[in-house]
């Protein structure tokens, strides 16, 4: 396998899928030669993915078995935690199913099969009553209903026969009907057609590498449904495909608009926002108890609660735009957060709150965001600068060169009288470091008025906090600012942020980082800082990229 990598000025490091190609990148972002073999040699790279399988994420698996079997046990919580190539939990470029995962799938399938057969066997038999219609007909019903919904398309004849064979073999070995059904459910739930979402085009399609194929309507329905609801197509979407009402772009738009109104869409797009802004890491976040003795799981849950509400609001409100997300100073808080934000305590649950707009404009000023993007024992301007550059501006700094001297830790005796800013300024004072750190620190130091929990502070170690920053190298919003609210205001209306959001939405929607040499900001030309956040997803769904795949090299 060789994946040719080329770097353009648009492509951040995160865009590079370098598996074996020789690429060098120095501190200033110039690149070495890129490989030219592989599919991209035949045609210029496009945003269109290659034909592929997309393994269900844990989130998707739990949603699917809930919808398919009525199971509410969240079996995927026991699965291996995966790392994802695209920054979102639906990217499966490098995911391999390992023995642990096979064992987990096996355990989950056995438990789910036993449960559904005992609880509601009709659910997997399409309502077929074995007493009335007999085992043979009910097995066919299973293949045409449960198995098809699990595979997200009607089964091929070979697939049906394999399942029939397994059922009758089980019966021949002495198993009763229910055990035979359990066996089939277990097979289906461990099969690749269930565990991987197919984006392959019609069976038997043959073409040369680089040529493209349109996905089948079943595959497109599945892709749409997983994008917007994190689960398999619902009854309405399934019927639309089966009845030929899902062949056109307007059909897609209609179904997408409908799905956006479902509960599944709220969960799926909220998950996107958390993953984009890194705040999914609030779950399990911990802080150095010596530095932040008040921080605990309850605090993290409050922070998460505020962000859930913020994201839901940004995704659902008629003016739920990037501008609103990055400039709004209204929020919802409980007492834990009220204390942290310096607001009056009122008891009870979350309630609307007006934050100080000079201090808390936009998502980057919220406690959850600030706590995630911080060190465990200190504010972490480098971590914050690197994150904002990478995830929000899509302009990540080049990788650090070898042998970067480690920073002086916050607890170091020689740093006791220094503010965090001074500690890092000392660390990067050499010209060698300044080349890269000008950009990082120009963002990160602007956050210094917030500690590692996101609480406001005006002094540190007896010295006043300096919150001035300087955006550099963007060509659009460069210049000095003071504090995160001003930084947010700069970003909110910028093309930089809008293009970056396009890139992030593409990565989530397509489950992959854009191919090297391509630029997702060419998608959805009309999208603006004031458009609804969800409008971009509707535009992606309508784009040919969504329904087309290219043929990969075959060996």
């Amino acid at each position: 396998m060789r994946i040719a990598a080329s770097i353009t000025r648009h492509a951040p490091i995160g865009a590079l899928l370098v598996l074996s190609a020789a690429v060098s990148l120095d501190c200033y972002g110039t690149s070495g030669a890129a490989g030219t073999d592989g599919p991209s040699a035949a045609s210029p790279p496009t945003l269109t993915p290659t034909r592929r399988l997309r393994r269900l994420s844990s989130r998707e698996y739990d949603n699917v078995v809930r919808d398919l079997l009525g199971a509410t046990t969240h079996p995927a919580q026991a699965f291996v935690t995966d790392a994802f190539a695209n920054g979102y939990d639906n990217g499966s470029a490098a995911l391999a199913v390992q023995s642990d995962q096979v064992a987990s799938y096996q355990r989950a399938a056995e438990a789910l099969a036993a449960d559904v057969v005992a609880r509601d066997v009709g659910r997997v038999l399409g309502g077929c009553d074995v007493a009335q219609r007999g085992a043979d007909r009910c097995v066919e019903a299973l293949l045409d209903t449960f198995a098809a919904r699990a595979f997200r398309r009607p089964l091929f004849a070979t697939e049906k026969q394999r399942l029939r064979d397994a059922f009758y073999a089980e019966r021949a070995s002495g198993g009763d009907f229910a055990t035979g059904v359990r066996t089939l459910v277990e097979i289906v739930l461990q099969s690749p057609q269930f565990l991987y979402r197919e984006e392959l085009g019609p069976p038997g399609a043959r073409a040369s590498p680089g040529a493209s194929v349109r996905l089948t309507d079943w595959e497109i329905a599945s892709e749409l449904s997983f994008l917007l609801t994190g689960s398999s197509p619902d009854d309405a979407l399934w019927s639309a495909v089966a009845e030929g009402r899902f062949a056109s772009e307007s059909d897609r738009q209609r179904e997408a608009a409908r799905l956006l109104g479902t509960r599944g869409a709220k969960d799926a797009l909220r998950a996107f926002m958390h993953a984009w802004l890194g705040t999914d890491r609030l779950v399990g976040l911990s802080k150095d108890p010596a530095a932040y003795p008040t921080f605990d799981a309850t605090t993290a849950a409050s922070m998460l609660g505020e962000l859930d509400r913020t994201y839901d609001d940004a995704l659902a409100a008629p003016d739920g735009s990037l501008r609103r997300l990055f400039t709004s100073s209204t929020s919802q808080v409980d007492d834990t957060l009220a204390g942290l934000y310096g607001l009056p305590l009122a008891g009870g649950d979350f309630r609307p709150a007006a934050l100080d707009p000079a201090l808390r404009q936009g998502i980057m000023t919220r406690a959850g965001f600030l706590a995630v993007h911080a060190e465990t024992d200190s504010s972490g301007p480098i971590a914050r600068g690197v994150f904002v550059l990478g995830a929000i501006m899509c302009a990540p700094p080049p990788p650090p060169p070898p042998n970067v001297p480690p920073a002086v830790p916050a607890g170091d005796p020689t740093a006791q009288s220094l503010t965090t800013r001074q500690r890092f300024e000392r660390h990067v004072s050499s010209a060698f470091c300044a080349g890269c750190h000008t950009r990082i620190d120009g963002i990160g130091f602007g956050f210094e008025q917030f500690d590692a929990l996101g609480a406001f502070r005006s002094t540190e170690r007896g010295q006043p906090i300096d919150t001035s920053g300087d955006v550099a190298g963007t060509g659009e919003i460069d210049g000095v600012y003071v504090g995160v609210s001003q930084l947010s205001a700069k970003l909110a209306g910028s093309k930089l942020l809008t293009d970056c959001y396009r890139r992030q939405a593409y990565r989530f929607a397509m489950g992959q980082v854009e191919p090297p040499g391509t630029d997702p900001s060419t998608l959805a030309a009309g999208f603006s800082p004031d458009a609804r956040l969800v409008d971009l997803f509707l535009a992606i769904v309508a784009d040919p990229v969504f329904v087309t795949r290219t043929f990969e090299a075959r060996r």
Binding site: L19, S20, G32, E170, S173, S286
Partner: protein, 448 residues
């Protein structure tokens, strides 16, 4: 990438024809005159050693290695010295290959893969299969991949560092995920009675389910290009691993480890309090998996890459990455207090490796012990804690079934890349190789 998925598939198809209940180990043990199988065990620690206190004198003594060679109960020699070779001069070529990998990543992603790092999702990953996976693939066994990742200072995963979870790689940028919960490892190694092949009906049904699943894998695979087909090859291989593991040669399993998650839901994530107990449990489970023929290749990882254990159990209780290891800025140490801390950390690791090795050495096998048929490699992601990767401390324990007959030695044949050691490991495990990783002609480690 040189891996041929086609031949792999042929192999798997052949495997698929083997009845699912056939135990590789049972097959292997069927001939009592056959030589005992070789085993490979890799132990990885983080944050470097204390150079002035690690390298042994002419009698193989040093403040750190004394903890490898001494029985803590009696204070006497534990017998490992004669089976131990300490190698000096190892470095890991520092080439981030355009990724943002630093020295911790060279240790975790580059060392045992021997390959340049690979960028994926903005993170630096290993660029090839690691040596444990290469050996396991040839032997057709699953690897037991164990890690203790808990960290009170900085729980893992942390943003941007998913790749530091493991040093074992199935292939480019594809981690072998470690098992992190001793109790879950136990249940994997010794499935509860009634839910496994102990019950013939369940075993038969499971076998037929997995056979049908394998049939579906082949059918889907036929529609794919090379890269996607690799995924299903891994998947199919893993299914065969699961089928094989259900038979072990130990009969009655030992007692289950403690349920740390029940004691504290954060035990595997953000609590330091259970680390030493989980490490000891994992060591026992690793030994059991080898002893009971469940695996022949195992890795044990003590913390994640660049980990931040506080070593309260050694009387330190600091962020030992930032506030101790980073301050060890010269081979002689930066201050007496800090040097002592680095030594204490490494004495702990030495003691754990000693425990593992002596347990293997207590299992009779053939005319010697299981350790004699094992190659145990104790490695360190760094040479020195301030991100220095010269003189990475590597200790080879066991005779590797005769491939490493001479112990009790310090080998210092000058500066050599780790790739040569990778080549030596492959050869010692019976796999002829002229090189390793991205230096295919580097040869074996000089001086051994």
């Amino acid at each position: 990438m040189s891996r041929s998925s086609f031949s792999r598939r042929q192999l798997l198809m052949a495997l698929a024809a083997v009845p699912a209940t056939t135990s590789f180990v049972r097959t292997l043990r069927a001939d009592p005159t056959a030589p005992a199988p070789k085993r490979l065990v890799l132990v990885m620690q983080n944050n470097g050693t204390q150079q002035a206190n690690f390298w042994p004198d002419a009698t193989m003594r040093s403040p750190i290695l004394n903890h490898l060679f001494t029985d803590p109960a009696t204070g006497k020699d534990n017998g490992l010295k004669a089976k131990t070779t300490v190698v000096k001069g190892v470095y890991v070529p520092n080439d981030s290959n355009g990724t943002n990998g630093n020295q911790h990543d060279m240790g975790f992603a580059r060392m045992f893969t021997g390959a340049k790092l690979a960028a994926l999702g903005g993170q630096p990953w290993g660029g090839a299969a690691s040596v444990d996976q290469l050996v396991a693939r040839t032997w057709n066994v699953d690897t037991l991949t164990l890690a203790i990742l808990a960290s009170q200072t900085e729980p893992h995963p942390k943003p941007g560092f998913d790749h530091r979870e493991s040093f074992s790689y199935l292939g480019p940028a594809t981690l072998k995920h470690p098992r992190k919960d001793p109790r879950a490892v136990f249940d994997y190694l010794f499935p509860p009675t009634g839910s496994t092949t102990n019950d013939p009906t369940t075993a038969r049904r499971r076998a037929s389910v997995l056979d049908a699943v394998a049939g579906n894998l082949f059918e889907v695979s036929a529609r794919l290009g090379a890269e996607e087909r690799n995924k299903l090859d891994y998947h199919l291989s893993a299914i065969r691993d699961v089928e094989r593991r259900v038979t072990n040669t130990c009969g009655v399993p030992p007692s289950r480890p403690q349920d740390y998650l029940a004691m504290d839901p954060t035990a595997e994530l953000s609590t330091d309090a259970f680390i030493t107990r989980m490490v000891d449990d994992m060591i026992e489970l690793l030994v059991l998996s080898l002893k009971c023929g469940i695996s022949r290749v195992a890795t044990l990882q003590l913390g994640y890459g660049g980990g931040k254990w506080r070593f309260g159990w050694q009387g330190i209780d600091l962020n030992c990455h930032d506030s101790v290891a980073h301050l060890d800025t010269s081979d002689g140490g930066s201050s007496a207090v800090n040097t002592n801390r680095v030594v204490l950390m490494n004495q702990y690791y030495a003691g754990r490796v000693a425990r593992l090795a002596t347990m293997l050495d207590a299992i009779p096998e053939g005319s010697g012990t299981m350790l004699d048929n094992t190659l145990l490699v104790w490695a360190n992601e760094l040479g020195r804690g301030d991100h220095n990767q010269e003189n990475v401390p590597i200790v080879l324990i066991g005779k590797a079934g005769g491939a490493l007959p001479k112990g009790g030695r310090l080998i210092d044949a000058g500066r050599q890349p780790f790739n040569r050691l990778g080549c030596t490991i492959l050869n010692a495990m019976g796999q002829p190789a002229a090189g390793f990783g991205d230096v295919p002609d580097c040869g074996v480690f000089h001086g051994l």
